[in-house]
Symmetry: C2
Subunit: 362 residues, 2 copies
């Protein structure tokens, strides 16, 4: 079966480590000798307690988190977080700073608007079609938080360093680059990530939140929309997305035990993306769309000499076993999403294919 | 592997049909010849379109739904619905009727309270510890909806018939008995169900909503908290819980093609529950806790002569390969949850075990 698998460059849901998938498959009818599938095990059982506690501990170890940080699992994707953040952290007179680096930041800002919460867009790269990450941002003095999107999957840009926001905590949507590199978590009051890119299947959002953020959050909210419900019940106020959390645990185990931690993951990701960008820079057929100093290590966006050639490229790639290379429907072009699970083998094979395609279609 | 599986009487997450699990396992590394796992396939691909459209069509066929009904998949479980319902359907001067038949109804009512929405608890079975389903309920004339919980997993009670609410639409939490019997959907403005009992893994809530309910819903809400976001985008405004929807599709296919539809499922469920209740009624060792006319076909709750015997029963059952027989932690006692996927074989084996346990411990 495995030899029929394609090279998967999907933006999300995206490729997962093969050995994680194999472990899920092998134990799917009998998880941990329970005599049940992981999908059939009670979330109130020791079987599942072991899973969720292991996932939390691995996340904390990988990011060097002390006990002032809580690792939560919430449903609804990053999109629900766009609403929960202003609901939880902005009361009547409060305000927040948002940096707009593309579609996902725009959506986050829009939910603050819908909720009628004060907010400032303190920087935006819309002037050049979101092809870069703004620098030298002037933040407000009185903001409750600064909201960033660490990586823009659609335009292929990424914060390589995070700005100094002084005493104001950063809340960061890391859906597409969480656990792809080490983080200095002291800067962050909260980070969150829909799982379906670097962590597991869609349907689970990991939220890592600092105790002082919980302390200042609005408590007068529906139970499922306040962070304290999740932090006080180890994400099990109601039935959590068990299969998602289980897969995330296996992916974190793979990062720790197979990849050797986040420093090594980052080095590997730099190497993989570097090969692709260097290859494109070596000629003129493929053109990376993001500004050089803002290029993403996760989503390599590029154009070919014409839209017809882009269509042909995507189709021929698919014929040759390379999936997911079409750019986001809102921007066109091409994109190779190369999250943690993308292998060096797949990058080398893709470059080889790109070389032969360029030669044939010059 | 399959011979090591236990008889699983978990209340939820609960047993799934073995052939569904086997199909997931077999195709887990290569879904539908995509060369990807179902967890790796883009939700914007034709692969996933086929899955979600098939699930929607099967749900509509099974329940005889015409096009005024929309089948949606939302994250956050029934617990998020408890909040979304008053948020979407109750404006300032509106009010709703709630019937309180136990823990889950109480939670639904509580979210209306948190949101400061007008509501009446028009009937409750709290006076006798939620052991029955109220009858002859007087509903308000001016309610926007009547909220019911069709089956109480904790106390083992179930609406066998739904009340006549005249022109007022019923909104019903069917988390534990959806697709366990045919329904006259004309009574319902909306039904909803967390998947983890009769439908699939935890993390996906199926919502079936009538067009006129969508028409009257509040639009000034965060995107992820209004039903129109889901109905206008075929539940794919953001990345949906793909693995959950895929499993639900396979379960619905099993109901249609293997079980033969909801009439047959209902007959089978009556037969299974009947065997258990009849066996308990034939002696005095096991005592069903729900009032006879309100007994659930899904959750058979019972007591033994003493708490010590109950503990021993649960432990010995586990040793003999019967899992999940402990009652809910809030009420104690014992419970056999026998959703659609519970087999006649498992019921017969359980009764045989109960007989021998009773004999040994009289």
């Amino acid at each position: 079966m495995t030899q029929q698998r394609i090279y998967n460059f999907n933006a999300g849901p995206a490729a997962l480590p093969l050995q994680v998938l194999q472990e899920i498959q092998t134990s799917f009818l009998n998880f941990d000798n329970s005599g049940m599938s992981i999908t059939e095990v009670s979330h109130r059982s020791s079987y599942f307690d072991n899973v969720i506690n292991d996932a939390v501990e691995r996340a904390k170890r990988l990011l060097n988190l002390d006990d002032k940080f809580h690792v939560l699992f919430i449903q609804g994707g990053a999109s629900l977080q766009f609403a929960m953040i202003p609901m939880n952290f902005l009361s009547n007179d409060d305000t927040a700073d948002y940096v707009n680096t593309g579609t996902w930041s725009t959506k986050a800002i829009n939910e603050a608007k819908i909720l009628n919460k004060n907010h400032n867009v303190v920087a935006s790269s819309e002037d050049r079609d979101f092809s870069y990450i703004p620098k030298d941002i002037q933040f407000s003095d009185n903001a409750k938080f600064v909201h960033l999107t660490s990586n823009n999957t659609i335009k292929g840009t990424q914060f390589h360093d995070f700005p100094d926001t002084k005493e104001v905590p950063i809340i960061c949507d890391m859906s597409s680059d969480i656990f792809s590199r080490p983080l200095d978590m002291e800067k962050f009051g909260m980070i969150y990530a829909g799982a379906q890119k670097n962590l597991g299947p869609s349907g689970t959002c990991m939220v890592i939140i600092r105790q002082d953020m919980l302390d200042m959050a609005n408590e007068n909210l529906p139970s499922m929309l306040k962070y304290s419900t999740y932090s006080s019940k180890n994400s099990m106020y109601n039935t959590p997305p068990c299969f998602g959390i289980y897969t995330i645990d296996l992916v974190l185990k793979w990062i720790e035990e197979e990849m050797g931690g986040l420093e090594k993951v980052e080095a590997y990701n730099k190497q993989k993306a570097g090969l692709l960008y260097d290859y494109m820079n070596s000629g003129s057929f493929y053109r990376a769309t993001a500004q050089k100093d803002s290029q993403s290590l996760m989503n390599v966006t590029f154009r070919l000499p014409s839209e017809d050639l882009e269509k042909l490229f995507v189709a021929k790639a698919m014929e040759n076993g390379f999936g997911g290379l079409k750019g986001h429907r809102s921007v066109g072009g091409c994109r190779a999403s190369i999250y943690n699970a993308a292998t060096m083998e797949s990058i080398n094979a893709l470059i080889k294919f790109m070389e032969s395609f360029a030669k044939e279609n010059k």
